[in-house]
């Protein structure tokens, strides 16, 4: 009755006139969400860069999920290697073997799990902390903002790698700590961006209108500020995943990674320590490096494409 026929068409999948039966608000909301999502996908598909990025990203995520099917985990154990050390690529080991005789291909496949997991989890930490600090500071202003800003700047000016090294040595080398450390050292940039955007959004007349409406601070932040800051957060998220994967690589390369797990950075670190560069074991160094490049590139491409799609101000319908 209030809804347009369009909604019903999507819901019923037919061109039939909408039924006059009353529908619950939840059904209305879900129908609208479905419609919004399909519209989003239509726009996203038009970006070639975004699609290429998405395909590469999907490929890596698929490999990470299917790792147990693609590689044998027992072969990753240094005491039960399937081959002899430093074998060059062959039919049995397409990417050769490492110093223990483990298949580099299997290592890279399992490494994608850790690299992606750290990338996503560290990004979640970054986004929650960054968006939280940025919005609270920007929205409330005054003394709270000064405090939050000082805190943010403090994290910004500290060289992240030095802070990360100190933190990992204090907290210990585990997967959880790596995620925490990357999150803690990279949220400041996001907080700045979000704060700047919040400052501009909160001065818009519609926020004043909502305040005149009798809306609470919580309502204003969640319903008006957040949706308008979201494009910045979201586009930033995807880019942060790429940066987090790089950060994990850096930490592992410096020997600060979790020794119990294989990650791409960890493989490169092992190769370096075993002198792969001077001995010419290219199959050990290049594959994880290429994977890092590809994944980082894929996330960056998706990030730019998303920014174009999600920003309603530059989107056309």
């Amino acid at each position: 009755m209030i809804q347009t026929p369009r909604t019903s068409d999507v819901e019923l999948g037919t061109e039939a006139p909408p039924p006059e039966a009353p529908r619950s608000p939840r059904a209305i909301r879900w129908a609208r969400r479905r419609r919004a999502l399909s519209g989003f996908w239509r726009t996203y598909r038009q970006s070639r860069m975004g699609m290429v990025g998405l395909v590469i990203m999907a490929l890596f995520i698929l490999v990470a999920l299917a790792a147990p099917l693609l590689a044998d985990k027992t072969g990753l154990n240094v005491s039960t290697p399937p081959g002899t050390p430093f074998e060059s690529p062959s039919a049995q080991f397409p990417l050769g073997t490492d110093d223990f005789g483990r298949s580099v291909l299997d290592l890279v496949i399992y490494g994608s799990r850790i690299s992606l997991l750290v990338g996503f989890a560290a990004t979640a930490v970054t986004m929650l902390a960054g968006a939280g600090v940025g919005i609270v500071g920007g929205y409330y202003g005054g003394r709270i903002d000064t405090l939050m800003n000082a805190f943010t700047n403090w994290f910004l000016v500290i060289p992240w790698i030095a802070l990360a090294i100190v933190l990992t040595s204090i907290l210990g080398r585990s997967l959880f700590n790596i995620i925490l450390v990357i999150g803690l050292t990279s949220w400041a940039g996001t907080a700045r961006l979000v704060r700047a955007d919040t400052l501009s959004v909160k001065e818009r007349p519609y926020v004043e209108r909502a305040r005149a409406l009798g809306a609470s601070n919580w309502h204003l932040v969640t319903r008006h500020i957040l949706p308008n800051v979201m494009p910045v957060i979201f586009a930033n998220t995807v880019l942060t995943v790429a940066l987090s994967i790089l950060a994990e690589t850096t930490l592992s390369l410096l020997g600060l990674g979790d020794p119990r797990n294989v990650s791409w950075g960890g493989i490169i670190n092992d190769a370096f320590e075993a002198g792969a560069l001077s001995a010419g074991y290219w199959w050990w160094l290049i594959p994880p490096g290429v994977c890092i490049c590809l994944v980082t590139l894929a996330f960056t491409m998706c990030g730019y494409a998303l920014d174009e799609v999600l920003n309603p101000r530059i989107r056309e319908r």
Binding site: M1, P25, I28, E208, R209, S216
Partner: protein, 328 residues
């Protein structure tokens, strides 16, 4: 009983460059079903009054005086109660509908928001009400799921009016609702506002710098200059037989077609409104006044009776104290 009663309202903005007294002692009442028009040049404090009625100014801005809206003393309300009074006691039709709507939310949701914020109805009932409101302001119901950028300027202003009516407020404050609209659309929006006001028996505070608009919609008119009301009275009387020289200059700026006096060019008013931080002494209008007397720069003006229900803050009106008395 009046819906809104404002007594000796003073609003001072605190800025880095010092205090800016934007409103310097304004009193007025609006009764149920009546429209008060508030006019004046830019920067005379019109919109500041609108913001003060719902206490929308930043906490650093000081508001003195008394504002009684629907029996609530707005200036002493606790934050929770204040939020409850906002929009249900008085709603605002903001100037520039284009920016007063959230670009990323559907207009229907934004009308519903007003209702659900006050828990006046559930989401579903609120949507039904929003659809009714859309009809009431002359928009097709199917536009309810549109985004603000899909509407024209006039349609957006209609949505703003629908929002303002959502919670059945006692008072609607229209803050320059027709600026940035072309003349045809302006006329349509005015007509809509006037008919809704009559139909619903609303009290309305209509703010604009366009006197010709005000005389169409208002019962009474108040003319502001430098943070003060300088003339107040029945709309027709104030517009056609102004008592204050400032009002004379304002209404003289609107040429009447067919009237011999307006042959050539409409008369205007020289000079600029005073800087709120450097308001002239005595009658603030004296530096620009055509009929200034030697007493004006030192005379403390207030609203004196100007006959026929009008009052004006000018030494020349009949109710003003004699020059001799004021000098003594």
């Amino acid at each position: 009983m009046s819906v809104l009663s404002v007594r000796d309202l003073k609003v001072t903005y605190r800025t880095k460059g010092g205090d800016v007294p934007a409103v310097r002692g304004v009193s007025f009442d609006i009764d149920k079903g009546h429209v008060l028009g508030l006019a004046g040049e830019s920067g005379c404090g019109k919109s500041t009054i609108a913001g003060a009625i719902l206490r929308l100014h930043s906490p650093r801005t000081t508001i003195e005086g008394e504002i009684v809206l629907d029996g609530n003393d707005v200036l002493s309300l606790k934050p929770g109660k204040l939020r409850a009074v906002r929009w249900t006691g008085a709603s605002i039709i903001f100037q520039g509908a284009l920016h007063a709507m959230n670009p990323v939310r559907r207009i229907g949701d934004q009308i519903v928001e007003a209702i659900t914020v006050h828990r006046m109805a559930g989401e579903r009932e609120a949507r039904v009400r929003a659809a009714e409101l859309m009809e009431q302001v002359g928009l097709p119901q199917r536009r309810i799921d549109d985004y603000p950028h899909e509407l024209s300027g006039g349609q957006k202003q209609r949505v703003m009016i629908a929002m303002a009516l959502a919670c059945n407020p006692s008072l609607v404050i229209a803050d320059e609702p027709t600026t940035a609209l072309d003349v045809m659309v302006q006329a349509q929006v005015l007509q809509l506002l006037k008919s809704l006001q009559r139909e619903l028996g609303l009290a309305m505070l209509f703010i604009t710098h366009d006197l010709s608009v005000l005389v169409e919609v208002s019962d009474r008119l108040a003319i502001m200059y430098a943070g003060l009301i300088v003339e107040e009275g029945p709309a027709d009387r104030v517009f056609h037989e102004p008592a204050h020289p400032y009002t004379k200059a304002l209404s003289g700026a609107f040429p009447e077609i067919g009237d011999q006096r307006f042959r050539g060019k409409p008369s205007g008013l020289g000079g600029d409104p005073p800087d709120p931080q450097r308001i002239p002494s005595g009658c603030p209008f004296h530096p620009r006044c055509a009929v200034v007397t030697p007493a004006c720069p030192t005379l403390d003006v207030e609203l004196w009776d100007a006959g026929a229900g009008s009052r004006a803050a000018c030494i020349h009106v009949s109710g003003a104290p004699s020059l001799a008395a004021s000098e003594g």
